[in-house]
């Protein structure tokens, strides 16, 4: 029951660390079951490598159910591989055929340097959130939750934007390595809700500023980010961010360097 009948050739990016050049290396895996997830297939390969006393492939993963955003992988030229609306850990080998050659690379973006093999550093996203991806409310100062009715439609729309898992597929998919979908999803969620209004303008300015500091590229509206987003975050968020940013630039005073003080 465990083993299947698929034999595959894998071409995988190997890179020792950030300061060493990397290269593609070919591997063969055999007896792969169509019920395996893509990451389980890599587990099989790693077990083989360990048996041969070679170093296993380093790749990021954790929850393996498509929600933590830790797994990445650029598979056959697509973030999270073939199929839409899923992360790599939700990709199953039944999406491939016996005899296939699969090319596996890390996210490629200036703002996401490679740590090792397929593992990249996405801490730029955390720094963007730290600049404004929040509502400044200290613990203990909240009113009763139902004192603030929010139209279901607005709440649902905010939820749709909030569903972003911060995996970085949008950046990996983009020819310019733009982080606009990620940033716009957070800006949208908070600007759609009444709680987010007081900091609305400053938030847009500060988050966009940090995005630029991190070295992400500009948005040229190709829509690749939306197409590859495992959570179906809509490009409408980017349109909203552009409006938010424009209005904020025209009406808000000097953008502060660090925002969010109490």
């Amino acid at each position: 029951m465990s083993s299947g009948n698929m034999n595959l050739t894998l071409k995988i990016w190997r890179q020792k660390n950030v300061s060493t050049a990397g290269k593609m290396v070919s591997y063969q895996v055999t007896d792969i079951s169509p019920d395996m997830s893509f990451l389980e297939m890599l587990d099989v390969l790693n077990e083989q490598l360990i048996q041969k006393n070679e170093e296993p492939i380093a790749f990021d993963h954790d929850c393996r159910e498509g929600i933590c955003g830790m797994c990445s992988l650029y598979i056959n030229g697509r973030p999270h591989g073939p199929g839409s609306g899923i992360t790599t850990c939700q990709l199953h080998m039944r999406s491939f055929k016996d005899g296939d050659t699969i090319i596996i690379e890390p996210w490629r973006a200036k703002a996401f340097p490679v740590i090792k093999d397929l593992v990249v550093d996405r801490s730029a996203f955390d720094r963007i959130i730290a600049k404004g991806g929040f509502i400044s409310v200290n613990t203990g100062s909240a009113q009763d939750a139902n004192n603030l009715p929010i139209p279901k439609h607005d709440a649902d729309e905010a939820f749709n934007s909030a569903a972003c898992i911060g995996c970085g597929a949008c950046v990996a998919a983009c020819v310019n390595s733009s982080a606009m979908l990620f940033v716009s999803a957070k800006v949208s969620q908070l600007s759609l809700l009444p709680q987010g209004q007081p900091e609305r303008k400053q938030r847009a300015l500060d988050m966009v500023h940090q995005m630029d500091v991190e070295g992400f590229g500009s948005c040229s509206n190709t829509g690749a980010c939306e197409a590859e987003c495992p959570k179906g975050i809509s490009i409408e968020n980017i349109a909203r961010l552009n409006r938010e940013y424009l209005i904020a630039s025209l009406t808000e005073k000097e953008p502060k360097k660090g925002s969010g003080d109490n």
Partner: protein
Amino acid sequence: MSKLDSKIPDGALEQKWTSYRSTVPLVNPANKRNLEILVVGSGLAGSSVAATLAEMGYKVKVFCFQDSARRAHSIAAQGGINAAKNYQNDGDSVYRLFYDTIKGGDYRSREANVYRLAEVSGNIIDQCVAQGVPLAREYGGLLSNRSFGGTQVQRTFYAAGQTGQQLLLGAYSALQRQVGLGSIQMYTRHEMLELVTIDGVARGIIARNLITGELEKHFGHAVLLCTGGYGNVFFLSTNAMGSNATAAWKANKKGAFFANPCYTQIHPTCIPVSGDHQSKLTLMSESLRNDGRIWVPKKKEDAEAIRAGKKKARDLAEDDRDYYLERRYPAFGNLVPRDVASRAAKERCDAGFGVNATGQAVFLDFQYNMKEKYGRSEAKKLDIANPTDAQLKELGKNVIKEKYGNLFDMYKQITGVDPYEEPMQIYPAVHYTMGGLWVDYNLMTTVPGLYSLGEANFSDHGANRLGASALMQGLADGYFIIPYTIGAYLNTEVSRMSAEKAKADSIDKLKTQHPAFDEALKNTQAHIDKLLSINGTKSVDHFHKKLGKVMWEKCGMARNANGLKEAIEEIRAIREEFWKDLRVTGTANEYNPELEKAGRVADFLELGELMCMDALQRNESCGGHFREEYQTSEGEAQRDDANYSYVAAWENKGNGQFELHKEILEFKAIKVAQRSYK
């Protein structure tokens, strides 16, 4: 003499927290700036406590092994979070949530802690909404609720099937805000490998930078372990791949007692195992039991035909189906607590009625509610007089999709089967661990200055946790309990600091220069070197899978004395083999996931044995701990209150020796009774 002082405040149950909270010593703002707090883990408990303590003015460092605080496994919680708001006007109250939780935990938790949890539950919802967490709402704009197992009210708040994600992102945003303000220093891709104690008091940690492999010393006036549960002892569980017990286990070795390790929650509705390649199991939210009916065939020959692929679920007439939960527990039906539902599934499968190829699965079927409940009501709304079967299904499907769409998609993605057409196949899997580090009412462990929050502690769920209560507890501990209770200890630290001000070699001056840090670092390095120097032939996963198999078969859903004794011997043998024949590739001074796993599995191999020892000493059945020798004639768990109404807290004496300490549980507000959901 017992070393356990639970420090439960005096007074009536309803007044304990209010009066304690108002009298607990405060730390003045100037002193807070001089107090450093280390938070290990960034899930709901870790993120919420770190953000709150930083807001209060403390200097905070946060450590997580993932690449961002937002990845912690709280993110994967699907169904919801309980709170006694009574927004639905269905008779809910603080007392009722308290009562349900104590009863759900099979009378093996502390009254005072659970009452406090119920009391602060409402504040959590207020706080999260204020942060912009988009919880589900009704058309009137107010918050929506649903039911979870073990309750008869609707008190579960949710955000589709992604409640944990939304709550964690709320806490994460509060945390990142403090990072931006410079009040929190964040250490991602760092793993705590040792607790540093000086004269028995927690003073810091040794953490490994997972990218460079460097070992770092960090000083703190208090150390907060928010490191989650130990379900990965079983190898296969719904936990994340990286979830581990190392921080808690190292703490146990340094004097923090480990309580009730045998209390493991086996969640009834998970996607069944498909093969040996399986790396983890995926939960299907308990919320599905609101609308899904659980059944197996009534006749064995039907079950056999289904297993052989000769029949399908749809081929069986209504009369040929055994809705065994509705049959056995008419009052709660499909919404019985998790332990009861899991055991009932195992009972049917063991009896030969299981439905997938392995015989280890039951059906979770939505057809009835899809057509009869939602389809009819939608048809009525649209004035369709005599809806056809197909119409009913189509209309109902849309409602089901709105409620559980992402779960249905997830199921289809993993199994390749469309659950709108075929019933889901589910089987129980390890999901949560009620046991954890023993803590007092302040959430302090038996090591002064060392606290434990969330799933990592043992405090609130007794022998079985109710659905949607993990998120509640993690956030209660972090947002609303520690920020008060930690003052009781830090206040004494302030006095000590001022008394030792003139001392040239005071802890506060030396900090990580203290020899205890060098000693701890040396030991950690030696442990790593030992793992790397075995140069055996078997991978870490080989041993982990072996351990998991023993645990699942002998310390899983049902246990007995013989099996547990065997398990202890088998685990010892695996451990011995591990230290003789393990192969860890790579080196210590680089990013090396195999080395990380090796350290975690080394600890699981010790904790697993303690779990079996704990299960063996508890000669009763309660909640998630089901000893086959102790059951009623109807197959229900048979408690022994006269002899086992205690918390079992294990002191690690070194060299695999443990001493059992007992904290006797007293019930004053609640009448202890045989748990019944019939």
